[in-house]
């Protein structure tokens, strides 16, 4: 309530200026009216009094003239003077002067003398009828003089001076009475006016406050003031009332609008958030780049940017056996339906790839399944290829997709089409497969038309030609660097123009296994038994790369597993992660192996128990077999504790290479 009072006060301050202006106007009007009124009244009074004075003066002068005629004839100045003195006591009579027929002043009421001005006026002046004149005399001010001849001037003239001072005095008195009355009227009027004005301005103040509150209102429900404003609308059958009504209905309209807006916004937000989830799911389906995998001959770099929340582009790469499948696709259309179709396609391909079948079979199968599921008549262009990690043989099918490039040194070679149709269109379509041999450090560049048809602000397309040029001229030495170069060039080209379509790039570079795995190799393992799988893989790769015999490969695998599993199982007393390093070297047609670990000091050759072959089955211990196997499968073996490391070295003759 306090806050509200304060607001009203602030409002009162604000509307104070308008009230003050109106009040000032009213005061000025009243003062003006008072002045005009006074002037009019005074003029009227003045005229009225002057008329009365005139008639009074004439009456006095006639009265004196009548009685003085006798007295003058009797030449009795004392009586005459007495007569004059009597009349001098009449209010308004300033002086009386009596002249005889010869213009001599025979009696007057001046003290000490008749003013020189009057003497001059009287000198030689004769009149036979009553005359009037205004004189200004020292000490008397303005005087209205009536000169009345006695017996037509034969006896003399009586001059009666009527002072205007009483008139002025009366006028002043009128003003003196008028002004307080006017002041009282004015003050009363102001009070009445002020209260009336409050009646008018109070709603305005409330309206102003209400409107101000509207500005900071959330419009979830009506302002508490709305009731008061409705009351004003009902109370005032005038402009203020109508204004109040309008503002109240404005608030209602805004509330309705905001409510609708909130509902639609909430719905939209819900859709958007679901789309965001869909986008995350979709992006989550895409595999991560494998560029850092040390033993891979195939290195992948990938990029996908949907134009909308969800897109129709996809890519995939799948490791199956010695092959890596690389896939890029683009579903016709965009948005949710495209995304779902894309996901379906991707899942089908992923599943089929696990069967380790050629791309041709894969595409035929996926096409058939997609057509069975495709009720929306969507289709998808797909490029699907399979790289043999060891041989570099690349077999592929292009189902209506833009022809990818191969970067070979400073050239961009277009991968020939296979004449395949987009998936999801023709049931039992036969997809032809082609093969080509990759050269060392070739990079296959898969992309979607989001790249080739990227627009600049002038609606020019990026084109395959420019992409080929970019790929050829790139100085990149890895798939990732090449991808960065391509995306950079596309961004420079579009120069801030909106991305109109999904953009997908998938790069796969291949390097010859023998080139990547030399006879000298150092591999790190951690103290986890799952590393045994990796160990087997490393031995397979090393053996293939160095042309080891299958027997030697098998035996090497067996020896290393026994030694390293032994170390992992028994070599550590803590639960920290430790490195186990394995070095491969070939010296004098013999393979030299060296294994280092930082576990507790342990000599497997001596600390492990020997296997006693004479024991019966029941007495045969389960442990100790591993070392026994190792000793039997190596040529030489040697243990050494070097500083904090256990070092085991063994040799194995290569014999005839494969």
């Amino acid at each position: 309530m306090e806050a509200r009072e304060r607001v009203v006060k602030m409002g009162a301050l604000k509307h104070h200026s308008i009230v003050r202006r109106i009040l000032t106007l009213v005061v000025s009007m009243v003062i003006l009216i008072a002045l005009v009124n006074s002037a009019v009244i005074n003029t009227m009074i003045y005229r009225q009094l002057l008329t009365e004075y005139k008639s009074k003066g004439i009456a006095i002068s006639q009265s004196i003239a009548d009685s003085a005629s006798d007295i003058l004839l009797f030449r009795d100045p004392a009586t005459i003077q007495s007569l004059l003195d009597q009349h001098l006591t009449i209010n308004g009579v300033a002086y009386l002067v009596l002249e005889d027929a010869e213009n001599n002043i025979v009696a007057h009421t001046f003290v000490p003398q008749v003013p020189q001005a009057l003497r001059t006026i009287y000198a030689g002046k004769r009149t036979t009828t009553a005359t009037t004149a205004f004189h200004r005399l020292p000490g008397l001010g303005n005087v209205y003089e009536i000169s009345q001849p006695i017996l037509f001037g034969e006896i003399g003239i009586i001059h009666v001076g009527m002072s205007l001072k009483p008139i002025h005095h009366s006028m002043l008195k009128v003003v003196a009475i008028l002004i307080p009355i006017l002041l009282v009227v004015l003050i009363t009027a102001l009070f009445v006016f002020r209260s009336r004005l409050r009646f008018v301005t109070r709603p305005l103040v409330e309206l102003a406050d209400y409107t101000k509150h509207l500005a900071g209102h959330n419009f979830e429900q009506s302002l508490p003031e709305q009731g008061a404003i409705r009351a004003i609308a009902a109370e005032h059958n005038d402009e203020v009332g109508r204004l109040s009504e309008t503002i109240v209905s404005l608030e209602d309209a805004i509330m309705t609008y905001i409510g609708d807006l909130k509902r639609t916004t909430a719905a939209k937000q819900k859709i958007e958030s679901e789309l965001m989830i869909a986008r995350q799911i979709q992006l989550g389906m895409l595999p991560k780049s494998t560029d850092n995998t040390a033993f891979e001959t195939v290195k992948i770099a990938s990029y996908l940017e949907p134009a909308r929340e969800v897109g129709g582009d996809f890519f995939d790469f799948i490791n199956v056996g010695e092959d890596v499948y690389i896939v890029a696709g683009d579903v016709s259309g965009k948005g949710v339906s495209a995304a779902i179709f894309m996901a379906t396609t991707m899942m089908l391909i992923k599943a089929k790839a696990q069967e380790h079948i050629p791309p041709q079979e894969l595409m035929v199968s996926v096409n058939n399944q997609l057509i069975a599921l495709n009720e929306n008549m969507l289709f998808v262009t797909v490029f699907c290829g399979k790289i043999n990690r060891y041989t570099g043989i690349f077999s592929y099918v292009n189902a209506g997709h833009p022809a990818p490039f191969i970067k070979r040194k400073n050239e961009a070679l277009e991968i020939p089409l296979t004449g395949g149709m987009a998936l999801g269109v023709d049931y039992h379509h036969y997809y032809q497969q082609r093969e080509l041999q990759l050269e060392n450090n070739d990079t296959i560049c898969l992309y979607t038309d989001g790249i080739s048809e990227a627009m600049d602000v002038a609606q020019n397309q990026y084109t395959e030609a420019r992409l080929a040029q970019c790929i050829g001229q790139s100085k990149a030495v890895s798939a990732h660097e090449l991808m960065d170069d391509i995306l950079q060039d596309v961004r420079i080209f579009s120069d801030g123009a909106d991305q109109s379509d999904d953009i997908t790039v998938l790069l796969a570079s291949w390097c010859h296994a023998s080139a990547s795995v030399s006879s000298e190799l150092g591999v790190h393992f951690t103290n986890d038994l799952s590393e045994i799988a990796k160990l087997h893989q490393v031995v397979d790769i090393y053996s293939q790369a160095n042309g080891l015999t299958k027997t030697l490969q098998h035996n090497l695998k067996l020896v290393l597993e026994e030694l390293i599993a032994n170390t992992i199982s028994y070599g550590y007393r803590d639960h920290e992660i430790h490195d186990i390093k394995v070095f491969f070297t070939v010296v004098n047609n013999a393979l030299n192996m060296r294994i280092e670990d930082d576990g507790i000091p342990f000599n497997p050759l001596e600390d492990a128990p020997e296997v006693d072959h004479s024991l019966s089955l029941e007495d045969m211990p389960v442990g100790g077999l591993g070392i026994h196997i190792v000793k039997n499968f190596v040529d030489t073996i040697h243990y050494e504790r070097q500083d904090h490391l256990n070092v085991v070295e063994f040799t194995k003759s290569l014999g005839e290479t494969a």
């Binding site: 038994l529 087997h536 098998h554 067996l558 296997v611 045969m620 389960v622 499968f633």
Partner: protein
């Protein structure tokens, strides 16, 4: 990377194993066979034609199975073992403990 499929041949349980029996796969193989024996199988034949690798951990599985079967009257019979795998049995003297066919 190991696969075990069971089948019956008369009163014998034929366990066809493929893949390699190493430190990682040995526990699974052991579980499958031990649970079969515990369910009452006392005549077990392991067909290891598709097993290309056996490490000491694998040898231990064979030993444990043999120890469980021997008191039941019939020892473990191993069929179609590859030579390079057999060499591991030979080296460790395990060959005499099993019936190879």
């Amino acid at each position: 990377m190991i696969n075990v499929e069971f089948s019956k041949e008369g009163d014998s349980l034929i366990a066809t194993v493929s893949g390699q029996i190493d430190t990682l796969t040995a526990p699974e193989l052991q579980n499958r066979l031990v649970s079969a024996i515990e369910q009452g199988e006392n005549k077990v034949v392991m067909d290891v034609a598709d097993v290309n690798y056996v490490s000491s951990a694998g040898l231990r599985v064979f030993l444990i199975i043999q120890k469980k079967l021997k008191p039941l009257g019939h020892g473990l019979e191993i069929r179609n073992m590859r030579d390079d795998v057999k060499q591991v049995f030979d080296v460790t003297g395990f060959t005499g403990l099993f019936l190879f066919s």
